[in-house]
Chain length 364, copies 2
């Protein structure tokens, strides 16, 4: 394991501010050409029945909109089918791909951009630096804050056949342009706003408590946590000011990921997603229930923030499971060697024995 | 004036960590080709007599090193002459330009990169978005922290003929790669380390006290100031840990500049540079002496930090000047309309009358 010295790729350009969605057409027009005028816009299916913005339909009359069903965590099949939707509609490759939504929708934009340029299927690129050439110019407009997908170099997906949950980790996966418009998070349901926002807080809490640290990762993590505290200890976490702050926290939290590792919580949370199909944000919050011994301060802050905002965290999801399920939870947790080493040292398996892990899941 | 909504261009890649200088050859080799194998390395002349790193001579045997005399603030003539040095040595355009030094040396790398691709002289590009095509691939290795030149979209220079101090503000001016190696700041003289580091602190202090703010500029500024406090209220501002932190503060302070404005202090400091030839870092610190009424908290923190580190700030540089000099100082201050409006409102000239400005300079 390294201490995080890595050549980190930044998002090329970011535009931040209320109403900045209105800059999307001009940004796309720069990339339209005689070779291709076609833009694909992936949008979370939530916006089939909710208004994204009054202006939105007006500004994209000619472009292909594809709604992304985000009911389940993303799979390689989803990525491949989204690519097929683009290819069957027209033989002309698009000049730009836009992702408007949360982590899943942004990750679809990343994956399809890579697949259209590189050929092959999503399964072929699960891993590190397997993408060979730059993807198609891609833009993200997050409509919920916390995942950091707008600034990271991966797109999460589970291999439908093998069950492997691993993204396309590549500099080519990083967005060329992001537009951070706090107006777009106005309609997020309160619980989901909290669960997803906590993804940024929790990641940074884990990083700052790990062994493998560096000054730039620490700086991003500290500022992200401070912004989360401002938001979730505030009167209304969804005020205009706080939605703007959480959008910045999400972006900076994503930057933190580039040069840091998570710890104990994310492996447990990932296991809940893989074995029980829980979404990442809520799985993190559920996992917190068992984390007091590892992160006493973060644990305390987390519950005080939830209480302050009147959000209740689901409980009991791991009671009454079968032995087989507990074993699969153990395996899916313990496989995350890097974060667990970061948090507990190389002998982490001596601490996280099968019985200890089961006991922690039972507490959840 | 806008509130800072702007499509901000990030440095494409950053590599952070002690010893990361050793990655420079590999990064350059990616850009060497049959078309051009030539790399130009601009280095602060300080390293003609001081060791940059034991490895450095070994890793760049074949490349052209040009030492940059940083005794005076940079001019358009300096930029043009540096470009000429590159062109007279060989007709082959370089595949990469490297700047190793402080703000001046990094700015030379930026300007020469733009000039080699765009033709013309430095004077032709002083302003906003006048650079037409991307410069040659450019890399920065800061050897002193605070200016933020490693992350900004400008390169400061004064027009030798007209006296105009204005940079090449352009997305093309942003570095493609920066290498932040805290080892490189080990040999900085203590006073200079403090004066230059304070550039980051002071910029952010001004931004956070202005009227035109946004959540992302605020986040970068807050974290930059916090890192500066950690460093300058620490036992030894030049410990390994603190040099790493200040390097991060400088980078993030540069990011803050992208979406924020300075205030009262920078215009006064710029006037000191233009009229009396003082370097930017020390000019900022000297100016602080007159800033208590505008920034009482920052003023207090600044002097406590200087005291803590045993650094004394020059004083009296504006006593016994001629009337003509005071008038030129007034003009060179008041010309900075955007920052002064940000700090004092549109009627800033009612507050900063010629007599008030003279009185403030006298206090310096």
């Amino acid at each position: 394991m390294t201490t995080g010295i890595r050549n980190a790729r930044n998002v090329s350009r970011y535009l931040f501010g209320t109403g900045s969605l209105s800059n999307l057409p001009a940004i796309l027009n720069v990339h339209r050409s005689s070779a291709s005028h076609r833009v694909i816009i992936f949008i979370d299916h939530y916006f089939q029945t909710h208004t994204l913005s009054d202006d939105f339909n007006v500004i994209t009359p000619a472009d292909q909109i594809i709604y992304v069903d985000t009911t389940h965590e993303p799979t390689t099949s989803l990525m491949n089918s989204m690519r097929d939707r683009v290819l069957t509609e027209s033989a002309e490759l698009p000049c730009a791909i836009v992702g408007i939504g949360g982590g899943i929708t942004m990750d679809v934009a990343k994956a399809v951009s890579n697949l259209l340029s590189n050929g092959g299927d999503a399964e072929d690129y699960q891993g590190w630096d397997l993408v060979r050439v730059p993807g198609i110019f891609k833009v993200a407009l997050p409509t919920i804050s916390g995942t950091g997908a707008e600034s990271t170099r991966t797109c999460v997906m589970t291999n439908t056949a093998s069950g492997l949950k691993l993204g396309m980790n590549s500099d080519f996966t990083v967005f060329d342009q992001i537009i951070l418009d706090p107006d777009l998070t106005r309609t997020v349901p309160r619980d989901q706003y909290f669960f997803t926002g906590m993804d940024a807080f929790i990641h940074c809490m884990e990083s700052l408590n790990g062994s493998y640290r560096n000054a730039i990762g620490d700086a991003y993590s500290s500022q992200t946590m401070q912004l989360c505290r401002d938001v979730f200890f505030g009167d209304d976490m969804m005020s205009d000011e706080n939605r703007a702050k959480l959008m910045v926290a999400s972006y900076l939290g994503g930057c933190a990921i580039a040069t840091s590792y998570v710890g104990v919580l994310h492996p447990f949370s990932a296991a809940l997603s893989v074995v029980l199909g829980l979404h990442h944000g809520v799985a993190n919050c559920i996992t917190m229930r068992a984390m007091e011994e590892f992160y006493p301060e973060g644990y305390s802050e987390f519950y005080r923030m939830a209480e302050r905002q009147g959000v209740s965290i689901p409980e009991g999801v791991c009671r009454n499971l079968t032995d087989d399920q507990y074993e699969r939870l153990y395996s899916a947790t313990i496989i995350h060697e890097k974060p667990l080493t970061n948090a507990l040292g190389e002998d982490f398996k001596d601490i996280l024995t099968p019985w200890k892990v089961r006991e922690l899941f039972l507490r959840i």
